[in-house]
Symmetry: C2
Subunit: 441 residues, 2 copies
């Protein structure tokens, strides 16, 4: 049903502008520069030519079928535009324009919604930052982002969505689709879950929502979803819930109820934005963790212990290495290495040691947490090899690379380019492993 929204063959930009300071210019330009392969029609009452394309005075004048309309005209003109869409047979609209419910103009938003219903037009927005489906090369949003990834990001807050998008760019892992839900007048979290459950380019759905419209439908959709769902939802405190109401007129609802709903329907809840991103990144590339036994291999004893506390607090088992295992490892590591769990290779760790230890201890553990606490050259190659081995045996590998020096940055970039997520601290990596465990159950 939302196929034409996210995979249109033709797009009209209503409110396209030749003035480069205007949003109607930016969005049109991003659709063009993003390499959209379908037909693009700028609509502007002054007609003429915009960014090298012939502009039409009205969508009704376009001699072609239009799958998707992106609307960036002042709020008061939106109902008229929607009527035009209806008559033209357009069935998907993104209303970027603000000035509706969020600004006290609930009536105007209802009017738009009624027209949408009358014609069967699905609406993203209003008051949103558009959508960007990297796999369809459709950047009906800003900034221009083209890197293809596996995470579908959908958010009631454009800024939160943009932050996740930024981080995914910095990491070089990208996203599949970015959806700014804005006022969520029509397309909501349930639609997103249902659509991206079937989207072949998406591996995980990352949601920021301030309220859920229909708890029952939401839970049903989540239960049916073939992809993991990670969610951040504020309004945990009374004061926060009240602010939610002011912000998006959503009802935050009782947090305990929402928490229980997540648990029942297999949704993983993130405690904060960084965690929302970490978990989405992990679930996009890793499998659920169904085992029990975690082995930590680290070049930093301290970093290993910080991870233990998080793992054990979350119910995971950092088993103690027995004499048999220690005997197997002794010749593979420096004499002063600590052969407990964590296996502490110390500052003398080499990339090769990590691989040797994982190989020797392979049958003892179901998951490996590899912590690189020093600029270890070749770390990426060793991790790539480890992951290959672990994948074949359905074991889990989570990697933390602590610090910001240049060697680290290169190795981390290499791992990301091979589809191996890397986390910046031992604690964040440990929380990821705990989340993979929750997902596995």
């Amino acid at each position: 049903m939302l196929e034409k929204m996210f995979y249109p063959e033709s797009v009209a930009v209503i409110g396209a502008s030749a003035d480069s300071r205007k949003l109607g210019h930016t969005v049109l330009k991003n659709i063009i520069d993003g390499g959209f392969k379908g037909r693009i029609y700028p609509i502007n009452p002054k007609s003429g030519e915009i960014l090298g394309l012939n502009a039409y005075q009205s969508i009704l004048n376009v001699p072609d079928e239009i799958d998707l309309a992106v609307i960036i005209v002042p709020a008061k003109f939106v109902p008229g535009v929607m009527e035009d869409l209806g008559r033209k047979g357009v069935r998907a609209a993104i209303i970027i324009t603000g000035g509706f419910r969020e600004a006290g103009n609930e009536e105007l938003e209802n009017q738009v919604l009624e027209i949408a219903k009358k014609y069967g037009i699905r609406v993203v927005g209003p008051n949103c930052q558009g959508i960007n489906n990297t796999h369809h090369q459709l950047c009906a949003s800003w900034p221009l982002i083209t890197l293809k990834g596996r995470i579908a990001i959908a958010s009631q807050s454009g800024t939160v969505a943009a932050a996740l998008a930024d981080w995914s760019q910095d990491d070089g892992i990208g996203f599949s689709t970015f959806v700014s839900l804005g006022n969520k007048s029509d397309v909501d979290e349930v639609d997103i879950i249902e659509f991206f459950s079937e989207d072949e380019n998406t591996a995980v759905i990352a949601l920021y929502v301030e309220g859920v419209r229909d708890g029952r439908r939401f839970m049903d959709a989540a239960k049916m979803c073939r992809k993991p769902i990670v969610i951040s939802k504020p309004g945990v405190t009374e004061r926060g819930a009240k602010a939610v109401e002011s912000h998006t007129k959503s009802m935050a609802g009782r947090d305990a109820v929402f928490e229980a709903a997540c648990k029942q329907s297999g949704i993983i809840r993130a405690e904060n934005l960084e965690e929302l991103y970490d978990f989405a990144k992990a679930f996009a590339y890793l499998r659920p963790f169904k085992g029990e036994r975690v082995l930590i291999v680290t070049s930093s004893g301290g970093a290993g212990i910080l991870a233990i506390d998080v793992l054990e607090s979350n119910g995971l088992r950092v088993f103690e290495a027995d004499e048999e295992l220690k005997a197997k490892l002794r010749d593979l590591v420096p004499a002063h290495a600590i052969l407990d769990n964590p296996i502490d290779l110390t500052g003398d760790a080499t990339a090769e040691m990590y691989l040797n230890v994982v190989k020797a201890a392979f049958d003892y553990a179901d998951a490996f947490l590899l912590i690189f606490g020093d600029p270890i050259e070749g770390a990426a190659d060793t991790v790539i090899e480890t992951v290959k081995m672990a994948d074949a045996a359905e074991k889990t590998v989570v990697v933390a690379f602590l610090g910001g020096a240049e060697v680290e940055k290169e190795e981390v970039a290499k791992m990301h380019s091979h589809g191996i997520p890397v986390f910046p601290t031992p604690e964040r990596a440990a929380r990821v492993l705990a989340a993979l465990k929750r997902w596995g159950h």
Copy 2:
């Protein structure tokens, strides 16, 4: 007493090497390249010339007084070196060499310690990454870092210390001194607290310790300390405490006892490494928050609400804007701005609006949490102005800049260069404000 350790006028590098692959080369080179203003003496049995300096066969041959010796010779030679130091009258030594207690050689470490006691030599290490006092241009460590800052970092884990140092470099705020405590055979957390309490270049002490040797002395030192102390201490879980024992042979002790000790002595405990850094960064530049009322000004409603949940969960009061305040603000913000608290300027926010809102609402709040959720040009200038105003009235300003795009990076760098800490998410900024409040009490 540790003056000669951290502010020596002459340094001997024992185990200095002409071979650039050796640590004894790197450390000597870093002391030279770091711009150390005192006298430097390489000590190497082969004598000759190293890095342009005349090397001595033994420290006993140096025709000068030596304040500090940095030792990088194999473990078994360390007792002999210590005897030489004693006879030479050196009273401060950094033993970088590993292979002592952490490798099962407790006896050797005790032997070294006895010699130190006999001569009254203070020892940092063994098994450590050295020290770096940026203000004294003494980088007896690696990598070479020269950026001067206000945070004293001391850690039982070299990697943890290095991670904090890296982050401080990335942010361009630097540190005052970096101390890798290693096995902590002599100089420990209490010495660090006592020394840096009086160090004029240090504004805050950031500690990572796995165990505290003497709880009573530790609490007394913390209570007397003139600087805020932030601490991260693992071993919260039983399994974590056990790993601490294997790692540094420290006793983690019962976590509840440590937690209570921190509370009683005004130490702020961080939950994870990023928080240790965030809090240290905040305390280095901001004052304790003694008021009650927090006003959030944001360009992103969602980001504002995420902050509320954290603030309210931590006992801070995000008051609701009354009609009087709303009336004052109405003309200063876009028509569709939400004039509650958070004051949501929406995506149309400009840097000027933030300043105008803070000015108009100045008397209503004791702390301002400014959240920039979009690439807002001029944000830095507005924040610099806001901080100036707030400082004069002893109000607190905490800034979050969400996202990673280029505009953000420039503005954030500018704020940091003006001594204004910026945090990467609304939640982390809110936790910082809560920590400033705990510090204030």
